[in-house]
Symmetry: C2
Subunit: 335 residues, 2 copies
DNA sequence: TTGAAAGCGATACCAG
DNA sequence: CTGGTATCGCTTTCAA
């Protein structure tokens, strides 16, 4: 049987309370007592039962991280940073995948109340404003991305400005037929909406008339569906001068299709993505993209979350993380 | 304040035990009683406290998944499948990263005893046999990969046979100078050892004398370090006829370096990886690789783990998952 | 500074 | 089929 505080207390000749004091280190304990207790813990190979502690404290030491799909490089890199930052501060991370199912996002907010999670970092895809409202009385939630709501704390990158800047960068050498890949008309994600808006705003600034034929739809934001979407689109459209993909994963799929068709990048078409994932840096050619500090996103999210745990009533806080346009070989002549 | 079983019981006019029976559904409950209880739960917006349940049951409903680095595509895809499979069966998944630090793997086995985790799926990099031994009396552990030990259950792919087959496939068109990338001499991982052994065994079968100059070292198995390793190696070595990278991530880094140097793939050099990650399928050119069913790895690991929870004393079980050589454009002439 | 006892919320045992 | 009651392991009043 596993040792408990009682066992440790008995062996050390003290009370359970004292053992607890030694562990938590907030109430002062005399050096000899502390030593006895620590020795007893060693001898009994004592490990505290976190379920019991969680029950008593009302806190579990675990935060939830909910992402659409852990397998996409962007989510994976984000999760990596959240896990690292959280561990540094003594938190464990429970991973949830929401897929493309709005219901799952709802469910999660409920599950978060099961007290196995002290807070939730949620990267929503299709979260409606209503879903977040349910969350008011629940454990703290920090949203990642550009969800328009005014209740939960939030960390985001200005996707619209970034998309605008990227479009402008693609247009700079005089390119005018600029297509975008990633429009998801069926259930538009707020991210898609913002990036499309940035693209359109750039066209307007450039005096380029918007052309619906240059909006390439792609419901799932994976390399695979992006490749399929672009491939079939190219069957009925001429090659544009530039292609702005709403994520790097989609851009990698696009590069593959273009290569297969013998369309040269960047000579025949410039390609850009968004997120600056590792594989984009090593793509052939290396991918031009919008870069931002994912570790900062992770650490800010965690900061907001832990702050919120101690002060549930302060007003909503929003953190904006900067970005930069990184031009690589997929949009600039080989150097 | 949150509602408890007591509140629900009071409102439904029954005892707490009955509420519990309704929830767990194992003991029969009369229809009217069940209805009253369910209504009360609805009205009070009742959500069970999992910490309390965990304390009482000795089980938390959470499994741990420990990976070296969540940001690598292979780990990410694996995690994705584990999370999905686990959720289907009602488990939550806590993610831990071990990095390259053996100490972290040790720590984990201890942390798993904190009762917040009912079992652990561990993909070790450098776990020594001793580390697993500590785990005997602990919660169930399932190891992923080719760790040579005889205590914990394990799911693995025959890396050595796969590496041999891949080397033979690369050699088939008469290629003889076949280099490998991924030797990590400093702290050899068991995976590296197996794949290197497979490579050597293939050379022997082919009657090719092993050449240490063709063993390219690379301590970290990322695109980035692979690219750096290959780049500097090429400074002092002629281009080999083929390059077998121990993971797809490394192969992607290699493709990038070769492209930058104007070395054509597969015309000048054939390239292959291992793992069949999504980005490899869309690489330029698409990557030849060793493929295996990651979802099967995940589901088998979970099955072994849950079996072990109910029967801690049965003998070690080992599941081998098959593989196949997938030849794509990086090793075969364009079709 | 330390000890004794209560209680967090859910479940299992044993009656009825 | 249902109700009381003890209990899981830890922390936290309140006293000493």
């Amino acid at each position: 049987m596993r040792a408990t505080v009682k066992d440790v207390a008995r062996r050390a000749g003290v009370s359970p309370k004292t053992v607890s004091n030694v562990m938590n280190g907030v109430v002062p304990v005399s050096a000899p007592t502390r030593f006895k207790v620590e020795q007893a813990m060693q001898e009994l190979d004592y490990v505290p039962n976190l379920s019991a502690r969680g029950l008593r404290n009302g806190r579990s030491g675990v935060i939830g991280l909910a992402l659409p799909d852990l397998a996409t490089p962007f989510s994976a890199e984000l999760a990596h940073h959240v896990v690292e930052v959280a561990h540094e501060q003594g938190w464990s991370v429970q991973i949830e995948e929401t897929g493309l199912d709005p219901q799952r996002e709802q469910d999660l907010m409920t599950r978060a109340r099961s007290n196995l999670i002290d807070g939730l970092i949620l990267n929503p895809v299709v979260l409606q404003e209503s879903a977040v409202k349910v969350g008011v009385s629940l454990p703290p939630v920090v949203l990642l991305g550009e969800v328009t709501q005014h209740i939960a704390d939030r960390v985001f990158v200005d996707s619209m400005a970034a998309a605008r800047d990227m479009t402008l960068a693609l247009a700079k050498p005089g390119r005018r037929r600029i297509a975008v890949l990633g429009i998801n008309a069926a259930r538009p994600s707020s991210t898609a909406i913002h990036r499309a808006a940035g693209y359109e705003s750039a066209l307007e600034a450039l005096g380029i008339a918007p052309d619906d034929d240059l909006l390439i739809r792609c419901e799932k934001w994976t390399s695979e569906s992006a490749a399929a979407a672009l491939d079939s689109w190219l069957d009925s459209h001429p090659v544009p001068e530039a292609l702005f993909c709403f994520t790097d994963s989609m851009a990698l799929g696009a590069l593959n299709v273009l290569w297969k068709r013998g369309i040269r990048v960047p000579d025949d078409i410039a390609v850009a993505g968004f997120d600056d994932v590792a594989d984009g840096r090593f793509a052939v050619p290396p991918l031009t993209t919008v870069s931002f500090d994912r570790r900062l996103v992770a650490s800010e999210a965690l900061r907001l979350l832990t702050d919120r745990m101690t002060d549930r009533d302060s007003s909503q806080r929003v953190v904006q993380v900067g970005y930069s346009i990184v031009e690589r070989g997929s949009s600039t002549p080989r150097g």
